[in-house]
């Protein structure tokens, strides 16, 4: 009898944990390292003439001025989030590690790429592939990183 109560309690706790809203996360090996415990993904349809854009960003509408932040925007012909799994998406990567000179963007000659590894529940899991980025003072970097991006319906 006691055993059954314990099992019931455990499954209630497990369900409760599963309903906590995931915030996502992203990390990028730039400067001292950028790690943000927030990350969302949007697949943005731009109509007939334009390829859709996969947008991955580490800030919501309320905290656009967060010091540590990352934005990736790349073109994809995927028609749905599911279709993204296994794809490599190429585009522009921006990152900020501090308010002084810690501001980075993809090198103009070579874009940045991300690889979508899996779709887990409401999160897109993936890697930021190593690519050349340029800092605002001209310094070069070759960061890589990873992300868990909560899917947001645009």
């Amino acid at each position: 009898m006691v055993e059954n109560v314990q099992t019931k309690t455990s499954s209630v706790v497990k369900e409760t944990i599963a309903k906590v809203v995931p915030m996502g996360s992203v990390q990028l090996s730039l400067d001292e390292g950028i790690e943000v415990p927030i990350c969302s993904a949007r697949l943005l349809n731009l109509g007939g003439g334009r390829t859709s854009i996969l947008q991955i960003r580490s800030y919501g509408d309320d905290d656009r001025d967060a010091v540590k932040s990352v934005l990736f925007q790349g073109k994809t012909s995927a028609a749905s989030i599911q279709e993204l799994v296994g794809q490599t998406v190429t585009g522009q990567l921006f990152a900020q590690s501090d308010k002084e000179t810690g501001l980075w963007q993809s090198d103009s000659e070579g874009p940045s790429s991300i690889k979508i590894l899996a779709l887990q529940d409401t999160e897109l899991v993936g890697e930021i592939l190593q690519s050349k980025m340029v800092r605002v003072d001209g310094k070069s970097g070759y960061p890589s990183g990873s992300f868990r991006a909560v899917i947001v319906k645009p």
Binding site: G47, R57, R64, L71, Q92
Partner: protein, 605 residues
């Protein structure tokens, strides 16, 4: 002067496609300070007065050079006195006509007056001088009756026509002074009638000139108000007559975007003309709360400065253009299919993107993009597409702006803004000629304290060959204009060499914003980014100062070209800081750019 004649002048001003310069061939500069500063020529007489003042100034200079080299000839001192006094009266008359050149000629007069006093004393003791005195007194005695008669005629004529009378008196005075100039004041005693006559005539003619200027400004002002009223009515009428995607404007049948384009062009021409009229108001401005001479056009009397109705006219123009565009987007997108709606919105975004950067603080970008989103919301599928386009492009532009801003900080280093660099190089003290008064009575804006001959060389020397400065608010007058200038910063501004800007980055930006010939932008913000990048508009520039030119601030503002709307801006009326607007100077730097920053990218040296 008849009202008809005033009207002609006023209309000439309104339609006057003057140069972004002046009526003079060259402005004085640190390389060549000899030319005087230029006139705006609002009143026709100013041109004649200016030409005469140039001659008198040259005559004074030549005579003094002759006298110091070879010693004065018999008639030199008298002639010099005549030319010097002629220069003084011309400077006063130019000031009456609202010309800053008057103040600068006044400074040249003071220089020449010092020369005259020096020559007078040097010559005074010589035996030749003694002979000349005797001759002069005899001549003056002989012609006394003739002169008195002439004075009588002049004052009779002055009742009907003070300026003609003054001209006759001038000629008589010159004849007198070229003889009497060699005499000291006590020696002149019995022959002072010409001086008295001149002193009596001066205020009469001066009041007449100032009244003429006032009347001409009033006439030009009411013409401008009428034109603005007509413009606003025409915009409303065109908007109200929108039917089946067509609008009538200026006798033509146009699409909505075509009408918006033409309206904006006409609107900005009106802005430039309005700013010129506003500049004219500064000639008659109220000096202080107890200045009873001020006459208000609108009945609203400021404590000092100009009639506040002018700020209202400028604000009304800006609001009229913006509101018409917003309403048009709303009305011209009803009942369209999803694909037609996208095309229509793309047209509006492209068109408005040519103008939105001319209004500060993104006000028009926000208002027009909100209107576009609102129109898109009529068709759910279209709304999603437009909203997503805004999302993607706004994020991209935000990061690019942040990046360019940081690059700008790094490129700027410790370099100071142009205004500070020039101000620091031209201080004016009791012993130093300059444009910014320093010390106990420091004044923070540039005024005419010395002639260009004295002040500009000092400024040039202090700057040297390698003075670097940051120039903000650099605008290009039009998409194909060779002129890049900066907006005034405390009456100091720059003109840039026209071949410095490379539009290569524009095509990259276009690609990033997913725009090409078949895919128009879906936001005004994105369209504006491309427009300004293609043109090289709204830049911050770091460069070297090659040369600095002096001009009257009033002259610059009254003489603005009709395409100079970007120079004066639509957000605020042109202003002059002080109670004597004709004394205020602007310094224009010729700059060689080394690096520049567009809103969304920076290009290093």
């Amino acid at each position: 002067m008849s009202i008809a004649r005033i009207k002609i002048i006023a209309l000439a001003i309104l339609g006057f496609a003057c140069l972004l310069g002046n009526s003079n061939a060259a402005d004085p500069s640190t390389s060549d300070p000899t030319p005087p500063i230029s006139i705006h020529g609002f009143m026709e007489e100013a041109k004649k007065l200016f030409a005469e003042a140039v001659k008198e100034d040259e005559a004074c200079t030549k005579l003094y050079q002759q006298m110091t080299k070879g010693g004065p000839k018999a008639d030199s001192v008298g002639k010099q006195s005549m030319h010097v006094k002629s220069l003084l009266r011309l400077s006063e008359r130019l000031t009456d006509l609202g010309e800053p050149a008057g103040a600068e000629f006044r400074m040249r007069f003071e220089m020449h007056e010092k020369e005259r006093v020096e020559a007078f004393h040097a010559f005074g003791g010589t035996p030749l001088a003694q002979q000349m005195h005797i001759k002069a007194i005899a001549s003056l005695q002989k012609n006394l009756t003739k002169r008195l008669k002439k004075i009588e005629e002049v004052f009779t004529k002055a009742k009907q026509n003070p300026l003609e009378a003054q001209a006759i008196l001038d000629a008589a005075y010159d004849e007198y002074e070229s003889v009497a100039g060699i005499l000291s004041t006590p020696q002149r005693g019995p022959f002072s009638e010409m001086i008295e006559a001149t002193n009596k005539m001066s205020p009469i003619a001066s009041a007449h000139r100032r009244r003429m200027v006032h009347e001409a400004i009033t006439a030009a002002s009411s013409e401008m108000v009428k034109e603005l009223d007509q413009f606003h009515s025409a915009c409303s009428a065109s908007l109200a007559g929108l039917q089946a995607g067509k609008v009538t404007w200026d006798g033509k049948s146009l699409t909505g975007p075509e009408f918006v384009n033409d309206m904006m062009r006409a609107g900005f021409v009106n802005q430039a003309r309005l700013q010129r009229i506003i500049a004219l108001q500064h000639i008659n401005r109220k000096a202080s709360s107890d200045d009873l001479s001020f006459e208000s056009n609108s009945g609203k009397v400021p404590a000092h400065g100009i009639d506040p109705s002018w700020s209202e006219q400028l604000a009304r123009l800006k609001a009229g253009l913006g509101d018409t565009a917003v309403k048009l987007i709303d009305r011209d997108t009803l009942g369209l299919s999803a694909s037609d709606l996208i095309v229509r919105l793309g047209d509006y975004a492209t068109t408005l993107g040519k103008y939105s950067h001319r209004v500060a603080d993104d006000e028009w970008n926000r208002a027009f993009d909100a209107a576009i989103l609102k129109a898109a919301a009529r068709v759910p599928e279209t709304e999603k597409i437009v909203r997503n386009y805004h999302d993607v492009t706004n994020e991209l532009l935000k990061w690019k702006e942040r990046f360019a801003g940081k690059q700008e900080s790094i490129l700027s280093g410790n370099t100071k803004p142009l205004g500070r660099v020039i101000e620091g190089a031209t201080p004016q003290t009791d012993t130093l000629p300059g444009y910014f008064r320093t010390g106990l009575n420091a004044i923070s804006y540039p005024l005419i304290y010395n002639s260009t001959l004295e002040a500009l060389p000092v400024l040039g020397k202090n700057l040297g060959k390698d003075a670097n400065a940051i120039i903000g608010s650099v605008v290009r007058l039009d998409s194909d204009s060779p002129v890049w200038i900066s907006r005034m910063d405390n009456y100091i501004y720059a003109r840039l060499a026209s071949d410095f800007y490379k539009p290569e980055y524009a095509s990259k930006l276009k690609t990033e914003l997913m725009i090409d010939d078949s895919k128009p932008p879906l936001s005004v913000r994105a369209a504006s980014a491309v427009t300004t990048a293609e043109r090289g508009d709204n830049l911050i520039v770091g460069g070297t100062i090659n040369e600095v030119f002096a001009e009257g601030s009033l002259m610059r503002m009254i003489s603005m070209k009709e395409n100079a709307a970007p120079f004066s801006g639509i957000d605020a009326p042109v202003s002059l800081a002080i109670d004597q607007p004709t004394n205020q100077v602007s310094l224009r730097a010729a700059v060689s750019p080394k690096w520049y920053r567009h809103r969304y990218f920076a290009v290093g040296p």
